[in-house]
């Protein structure tokens, strides 16, 4: 009917156009064409309005399901009124280029206008005369396009695999309507008679609801990661009952297994069973995480890991039977021949949405799911890390490996703390932070066994400090920030760093009060308590260490995200080389020294107390040996930072040499201002009292001093730094992959610097290539 409707509508319009008297200000052709276009607009309006323009989603669905035949063959007709004359009269008042506007509809709003019949904007223009509108669920049933009963194993496998592909495409950030809900079976699973298909589709719908909740509660999602909003009308059509999904899937599995025992050929049916079982275990894990996010009391986390193992075991069997299901037709956007209508939601999408989305293919979708399960397993390990230092390290490492998967990041956040008020679901965050400082550098005032901990004044100060830490939200935010995608992390770290200053002040005040109390106790003659409180820098050091850590991550992430131009490398590497890494090493060294001093003091005290007993002596003599093993817990990290220091120094000197040698492209000076660039790059550090900001003038002085050396000398100095880094890295026992990569970078750059120092390519000054493929922060310098 649609093809015949258009000509019928067009002919009267043409006649009307030619017969209407032209207004004086318009040419006949213009008027006729405008009338024809107007008539076409009328037709489009009928279609558009009837389909989705003015009606809410419920009415739309009612209209669609009212009559299957009607849905396919024609669209509602309404009593339109011809306003061509009025329109022309109104237009006659406008000058060329003049626009009518309303308080609520100005130039900005006009940008959202859709030009009717524009082939790129008007989605209705996607249909040609041979292309019927995409069928809805009810229409497809009426025409026999989809089956509701007696599906073959091949058909089930095909639909299952296609749905997993849609699920993966959705998790990658595509619109739910354009991937998952192109499956007509998901529109009304209750109407499906085939039990295996019905329970699977119900599981998918429930999985959608549960996953959305996990991502929403974790709150590490941004618009580029995942679209939380979709066709809620379709999703709400059948109420989600996640608690019953598991048993439904299990029942169907058991039923099919019993059925297999009666058949001679069971491979296809077992393939169906494997997919159902995989879905059941995947659903169980995700539902369990969602329950943790909601209730914050579930604590049997061990089950999650075991369930994940079972899900992993299903995947090889599934992969081996991918070809047993129905396969997508060539040239079609549908991921399966039956049950999918790729353009069903074209009209309900905002016009700016992509016209089509390529749904992931089946093998890579299962690959994605396998990797996601691996990430979930890895995330389960977060429960082992009971203090802030180790937990933060875990989150930083996890972010490097799982940065692209929003669900993996959300699951980790949920496993650690659903609401950032309780750590691991049991421990109040304030207690968690207290415990963390104690583990980090063991201040006596946090040791319950130490008499100083009983002092009411001490307890009051501690309570105030940790409550302040919680209120400022800085430490918890640092962990949450690790859950965002890598680009957003950098933005949020900038704001986090600015917040550290107030906490630094509070920590310094706390340490100062401890010293004051130490003096008071000393005057009272209470030597043990005075000693415990003396020279306290525990809290300042803890806060500063975390602040320096955030600063280093922020600064170096600019390389990972490719934000720095080559001519900026100089001051970006200079700052960590000259200041930041040294600060980190100082903080850790100070912490180690504090721990050592406390160990010695405890040892001294125990000897004094046990002086009178020979048996006691023998028993306690064994302790010093054990203590020595843990005397330097941060040695490995300090050594690593020494390597980073040398690498930054090498890059700084290398960039100085390359710049002086004329091998670095500099921007034209017309608009460029290096001082402004420098200040902007270090802007997040500007508000900190410690470390103090370093002005552009200071940097300029340092650079000018360095640049007095000859180019050859600068290359040689850079080579020495890289060689020093190599020495440090080679001294590390049991190096991990990152250290091995850095070692290769140090070796290669050492060679390159020496080659340049000897006058390689003196005549041709070309900018080297900086290859960051080995490490995010440090490149291999390649000459062209």
């Amino acid at each position: 009917m649609y093809p015949s409707t258009l000509p019928a509508e067009a002919d009267p319009s043409t006649m009307n156009g030619s017969s209407v008297a032209e207004p004086p200000d318009f040419q006949a052709a213009t008027a006729a064409a405008a009338a024809a276009a107007r008539a076409s607009s009328l037709e489009q309006d009928e279609w558009s309005v009837g389909e989705c323009g003015f009606l809410d989603p419920d009415v739309q669905r009612t209209m669609r399901s009212g009559s299957a035949a009607e849905d396919i063959t024609q669209y509602p007709m309404h009593g339109w009124v011809d306003v061509t004359k009025e329109f022309h009269d109104a237009c006659a008042e406008l000058q060329p280029g003049e626009l009518a506007q309303d308080m609520l509809f100005g130039l900005f709003e006009a940008m959202s206008a859709i030009e009717i019949m524009d082939p790129k904007m008007d989605v209705g223009m996607g249909f040609d005369k041979q292309d019927l509108p995409p069928p809805s669920f009810e229409a497809a049933i009426a025409t026999g396009a989809i089956k509701l009963d007696d599906l073959t194993p091949s058909e089930l496998i095909g639909i299952y695999d296609a749905l997993f592909s849609c699920l993966v495409s959705w998790l990658e950030g595509n619109s739910m309507d354009q991937v998952l809900f192109t499956c007509l079976y998901l529109h009304a699973p209750a109407q499906i008679k085939d039990k295996a298909l019905r329970v699977f589709c119900t599981a998918v719908r429930n999985l959608i609801v549960v996953i959305k909740k996990i991502i929403a509660v974790a709150a590490v999602n941004e618009e580029e990661d995942f679209q939380l909003y979709g066709n809620s009308a379709l999703l709400a059509a059948e109420k989600a009952q996640p608690a019953t999904v598991y048993s439904s899937l299990k029942d169907v599995e058991d039923e099919l297994i019993r059925k297999c025992k009666k058949l001679t050929s069971t491979e296809d049916w077992m393939a169906v069973v494997h997919r159902l079982r995989f879905m059941r275990h995947l659903f169980q894990v995700i539902y369990h995480v969602e329950q943790m996010a909601s209730n914050d009391t579930v604590d049997d986390k061990v089950d999650i890991y075991k369930i994940l193992l079972v899900a992993s075991e299903m995947l090889p069997g599934i992969r081996n039977t991918l070809d047993r299901g129905t396969q997508p037709e060539k040239g079609s956007d549908a991921p399966n021949p039956m049950g999918f209508s790729p353009r069903i939601h074209d009209r309900s999408q905002p016009p700016a949405f992509p016209r089509s989305i390529k749904i992931r293919d089946r093998p890579s979708s299962y690959q994605f799911l396998e990797e996601m399960i691996s990430r979930f397993k890895y995330a389960c390990k977060v429960t082992k890390y009971k203090d802030y230092y180790s937990a933060l390290n875990f989150f930083i490492e996890y972010s490097k490996k799982s940065g692209q998967c929003i669900l993996s990041r959300s699951v980790l956040q949920t496993l650690f703390s659903a609401n950032m008020r309780m750590a691991h679901g049991k421990l109040p965050m304030k207690q968690f932070l207290r415990h963390s400082v104690q583990v980090f550098n063991s201040p006596p005032v946090l040791n319950a066994k130490h008499p100083v901990a009983a002092d009411p004044k001490v307890q009051q100060h501690l309570e105030n400090f940790f409550r302040y830490c919680i209120n400022m939200n800085t430490f918890t935010q640092f962990i949450r920030i690790c859950g965002f995608n890598r680009a957003r992390q950098r933005d949020k770290l900038a704001r986090l760093i600015e917040n550290f200053d107030t906490i630094q002040v509070d920590a310094a005040r706390l340490d100062s009060m401890m010293n004051q109390l130490a003096n008071e106790r000393a005057m009272e003659g209470n030597e043990p308590m005075a000693t415990a409180l003396k020279h306290s820098t525990h809290f300042s050091t803890w806060v500063l260490y975390n602040c320096f850590r955030a600063m280093l991550i922020f600064l170096m992430s600019g390389f990972e995200l490719e934000l720095y131009a080559v001519h900026e490398f100089l001051y970006i590497y200079w700052y960590p080389y000259e200041f930041l890494i040294g600060f980190l090493v100082s903080a850790l060294t100070r912490t180690e020294n504090i721990l050592l001093a406390q160990e010695e003091y405890a040892e001294h005290q125990s000897k004094t107390q046990s002086g009178g007993s020979g048996a006691a002596k023998n028993r306690k003599a064994a302790k010093p040996k054990k203590n020595k093993k843990t005397q330097r817990p941060y040695r490995a990290e300090i050594v690593f930072y020494h390597a980073l220091l040398s690498l930054c120094g090498g890059m700084y000197k290398a960039m100085g040499a390359l710049t002086k040698d004329g091998r670095v492209r500099l921007p034209l000076s017309k608009f460029d201002n290096e001082e402004i660039r420098y200040n902007r790059r270090f802007l997040p550090f500007a508000t900190l009292t410690s470390p103090p900001p370093v002005s552009y003038a200071e940097f300029k002085n340092v650079r000018e001093h360095m640049m007095r050396h000859s180019v050859e000398d600068l290359y040689t100095y850079a080579a020495k730094h890289f060689d020093q880094a190599r020495n440090v890295l080679e001294s590390i026992q049991n190096p991990d992959q990152e250290m091995l990569d850095l070692l290769q970078i140090a070796r290669t750059n050492f060679v390159v610097m020496n080659v340049l120092a000897r006058g390689h390519q003196k005549e041709v000054k070309r900018q080297p290539e900086f290859d960051f493929s080995k490490h995010s922060y440090f490149p291999i310098i390649k000459l062209k």
């Binding site: 004086p24 040419q27 006949a28 052709a29 064409a33 405008a34 276009a37 107007r38 607009s41 309006d45 309005v49 323009g53 003015f54 109104a90 237009c91 000058q95 060329p96 280029g97 626009l99 609520l104 509809f105 130039l107 006009a110 940008m111 959202s112 206008a113 030009e115 009717i116 019949m117 524009d118 790129k120 941004e222 618009e223 580029e224 990661d225 905002p350 700016a352 949405f353 995608n485 680009a487 957003r488 950098r490 933005d491 490719e562 934000l563 720095y564 131009a565 900026e568 004329g662 492209r665 500099l666 921007p667 034209l668 017309k670 608009f671 460029d672 201002n673 402004i676 660039r677 902007r680």
Partner: protein, 377 residues
């Protein structure tokens, strides 16, 4: 020294602006808006035809001359490169052949980046549309109002579309209408008479001068130099469709005419056009607005025709736009471009822009973007 040169260049540019401004008053009183709208289109069509003719004849008859032209073209390139060298740190007025080659490549890239950049900017705008649509969804009352407005908008565009397709057939009808109108409205008839008079001289001129035009145009066409590119500000509505046509030719995403109107009507002084032989070959469209207490300039569209690369048109357009924004007290200039659009990145970074943020999956095709910034304070 460089500053002095820049100042001199600025002065020259200012003079150009004055000339352009002077032309405006003379041009406007001569004709009505409608006539203005029609004339450029006709000229454009004729010019295209002439170009086609030129392309054929030289190939057949003047192969030797082509070789000379090529050499001349090379000479022109050297002259062009000499000036940038003055600004660039290298300072070599005459380099080795390798250097020449490198510079040519760089020039090509610079122009190429303009083209690529447009796609990026377009995608960026399209992405913003998506977000606005999301916002629109929130207000049901607003939605109920907008559909009523849209038909008017669409029809207006439709009318605009009809004009370019006018051919010889309607002319008799026009004459008839004019005849009818004359009996009723003398003033209207007078207007139409002027239109007819305008149409005749160009035809005579073209016919009579064909040999001359061919002979003259053969020489400059292959040896276009940067000097022949004329830069000017946006003036009036009659340029709108030329701008749209130019930008749409280089982009793949649909831009409603109202997107152009939004930027150009609000910030007409931040729209610059590059033309050659009365054809527009490049355009830049910007805005300047308060954004979180910062006076932020934004480069929305930049397009340069593919046939006019290597002439620094993109760089010049961006430079003029930045100067205009600076004159209007901008604190910074911002734009987004695709992560892998190397030519665009090179153009902007050469002017001092730095990459401020990386925007994951910014464009609808899933590609990352970079937000580039040039800070002035």
């Amino acid at each position: 020294m460089a500053d002095a040169q820049a100042a001199a260049a600025g002065k020259k540019k200012y003079k150009n602006k004055k000339n352009s401004a002077e032309k405006n008053p003379n041009h406007n009183p001569n004709s009505s808006g409608q006539v203005e709208a029609q004339t450029p289109s006709n000229g454009h069509v004729q010019h295209q035809e002439e170009e086609a003719t030129e392309d054929q004849e030289p190939a057949q008859e003047l192969r030797g001359l082509l070789k000379k032209m090529h050499l001349c073209n090379g000479h022109g390139h050297k002259e062009q490169e000499a000036r940038p060298l003055g600004e660039v740190v290298n300072g070599h007025a005459h380099g080795h052949s390798n250097n020449n080659h490198i510079r040519c490549t760089s020039g090509s890239s610079n122009n190429n980046n303009s083209t690529h950049n447009n796609n990026s900017v377009d995608s960026s705008n399209n992405n913003r549309k998506q977000r606005r649509e999301g916002g629109d969804g929130g207000g049901s009352d607003s939605n109920s109002l907008k559909p009523e407005e849209k038909p008017i908008t669409a029809t207006s565009k439709t009318t605009a579309n009809i004009h370019p397709t006018t051919t010889t057939d309607p002319k008799p009808k026009v004459s008839e209408d004019v005849a009818v109108e004359q009996g009723v409205h003398v003033a209207t008839g007078s207007g139409h008479s002027r239109e007819q008079e305008r149409k005749q001289p160009p035809s005579d001129y073209a016919e009579g001068a064909t040999p001359t035009i061919t002979a003259q145009l053969q020489l400059p066409e292959p040896a276009i130099s940067a000097d022949e590119i004329v830069y000017k500000e946006y003036e009036a509505e009659h340029q709108m469709h030329d701008i749209m046509r130019l930008i749409q030719a280089e982009l793949s995403e649909p831009y409603s005419i109202y997107t152009y109107r939004y930027f150009i009507y609000n910030w007409p002084k931040l729209c610059f056009l590059a033309s050659h032989d009365n054809q527009y070959v490049g355009a830049i469209v910007c805005k300047l607005d308060m954004h979180m207490n910062v006076r932020r300039g934004y480069i929305a569209m930049l397009a340069v025709r593919k046939e006019y690369r290597k002439l620094k048109i993109g760089t010049t357009l961006v430079t003029k736009a930045i100067e205009a924004m600076l004159a209007d007290n901008a604190d910074e200039v911002v734009l987004e471009t695709e992560m892998r659009n190397q030519p665009a990145l090179r153009l902007y970074e050469n002017l001092g822009f730095v990459r401020d943020k990386r925007l994951f999956r910014y464009y609808l095709n899933g590609v990352d973007a970079l937000r580039l910034k040039l800070w002035f304070r």
